[in-house]
Subunit: 314 residues, 2 copies
């Protein structure tokens, strides 16, 4: 039936449809506006990441502006799917365990809104989450992500707040009337959240990128890296990408782009005399890992096979 | 079982796992290096698109450098899944029809390599595909994409080639020895492919963005928009994004970001007194479209429901 639609297309394995989601690993960026703005141009940190992982992994941005961890726990099932343990109970199609082995790594980057001051303007009082609850929520999120099969999680602490930039931003937004208002965010209020995140990371055994500390070590960090005392300038975005890259590649060298296979062969690695053979899953192509494929079984094997239908022959 | 892992998380619908792939629509960019480099920094056209569609759609880059349409037809099943018609025959999980309704639109952007000159250096002779075959392959790709349920396809013609830039690039890559070599690509050789793409588009009833013609209308297009006589400079990337945006939003106004709902409610639209209720699929949340949900049935309904778990209450 496939042939009638696409006479020239390679015969796809039975479950080829799932390759759309499964064949290329995903990197999931889970966080607040600092993540949501990751594709901002020029030079968002998520865009740098996507460029670095081209043909190797998809960068999936799940940043939600303004969210604190209390609200973020609500979306866990929609972002990460069901825990693997309940695999059997799921209905058809990509339910429980669908993510296992498909997520290369994930970033968990909340706290900037949790740390909004309860004593600040109305919006910050509504975003505020007590630091103890923040720590509990982080633990819950890491547990949940792990339960869905994600083994590599990088926890980031909230960035430092630069009060002069925050004040300037408020004056620009609200006008002169706000010049005596309390700030919605301060570094004093944020620092305990950064410490709580680092403690949670240590307890959970996940690597922590202490952005709060690291950015403050940069020259003119407030003016140069933050555009409103909290969010990143293009230079700040680039700095964040370099810090994330350094942490991820040091922690998990196997996730470096050069350690990953590209999806589909490089054009000059295609066997021009027998084009279709270059696009068969590797097991069928080389007949050497059939046993491994048999053993893994089902969708995972098919996905893995598709993932290695690459330029290994070159 | 879910509750034991995440006491605070919203109870997910049975098939919540599939929401990871399904809840947020996807935009699929299918093409050669001009697409693969779409996340390049600063200012790749895919990155601009991702920034514009933040919280609303995922941009999935399926560009494959150096590919002509002959090789691209091989990867159709892996990029787009199985045609809907064969839904019954698929195995478990996201087989046939998995994409229907999930792809907001797709771009189809090949020809730069098909048009490589057979009389050029070895690499271009190997990439060359006769113009008739190119036209047939485009028709096959559009048919295949439609068969998987994608209704909005934008066809792009290959960009114009700027010979001086191409020559300069060759000298830089190969050295002085190449100064009398034939060029691998020329506008004379490429133009027929652009015409063939436009003709195929008209015949198929899909909109065509005639990049080949449009870029030539720009001032200093060769020097300013192309970095090597073929690929895009940052300015060229930005121009391409503005042209794609204009074509897509004119053709399908319903795909404009402002016409789409964001995934998950805006933070200030959350019902702070009953947080969990804000994250239930809309049917359960408001109890007013239960009938429609029943009718749609199964995974599609669940995905649709998840897609509208947004700030409609605000």
């Amino acid at each position: 039936m496939l042939a009638s639609v696409t006479p020239g297309a390679a015969a796809a394995p039975t479950s080829a449809g799932s390759f759309v989601a499964a064949a290329r690993p995903r990197i999931i960026l889970f966080g607040d506006s600092l993540t949501e703005r990751g594709f901002d141009q020029p030079g968002g940190w998520a865009a740098y990441m996507a460029a670095n992982y081209t043909r190797r992994a998809d960068v999936v941005n799940r940043g939600m502006s303004g969210y604190n961890t209390r609200w973020a726990v609500q979306v866990l099932p929609y972002v990460f799917g069901q825990p693997t343990a309940s695999a059997g109970s799921g209905g058809s199609g990509g339910g429980a365990g669908a993510l296992a082995g498909q997520v290369l790594f994930a970033t968990l980057f909340f706290g900037a809104n949790d740390a909004a001051r309860k004593e600040g303007p109305e919006h910050s009082a509504r975003q505020h989450v007590p630091v103890d609850e923040y720590g509990r929520n982080l633990r819950e999120m890491v547990s949940y992500m792990r339960a869905t099969g994600i083994s590599r999680i990088l926890l980031l602490t909230p960035p430092p707040v630069w009060a002069p930039g925050r004040r300037k931003h408020m004056l620009w937004r609200v006008g002169e009337a706000s010049k005596d208002w309390p700030l919605d965010r301060t570094q004093e209020a944020t620092q305990p959240y950064a410490r709580a995140a680092a403690e949670a990371a240590q307890e959970l055994g996940v690597p922590c990128l202490d952005l709060n500390t690291l950015l403050q070590q940069e020259e003119d960090w407030g003016e140069r890296l933050l555009c409103d005392g909290l969010h990143l300038t293009p230079t700040g975005q680039e700095k964040l990408w370099s810090l994330v890259r350094e942490a991820v590649w040091r922690e998990w060298p196997e996730t470096r782009p050069e350690a990953l296979k590209t999806q589909f062969p490089a054009w000059d690695a295609i066997d021009f005399a027998d084009i279709a053979s270059s696009f068969l899953p590797q097991g069928e192509q080389q007949g050497q890992d059939g046993a491994a494929k048999e053993k893994a079984g089902g969708k995972a094997a098919a996905a893995a096979a598709a993932g290695v239908a690459n330029g290994a022959k070159a």
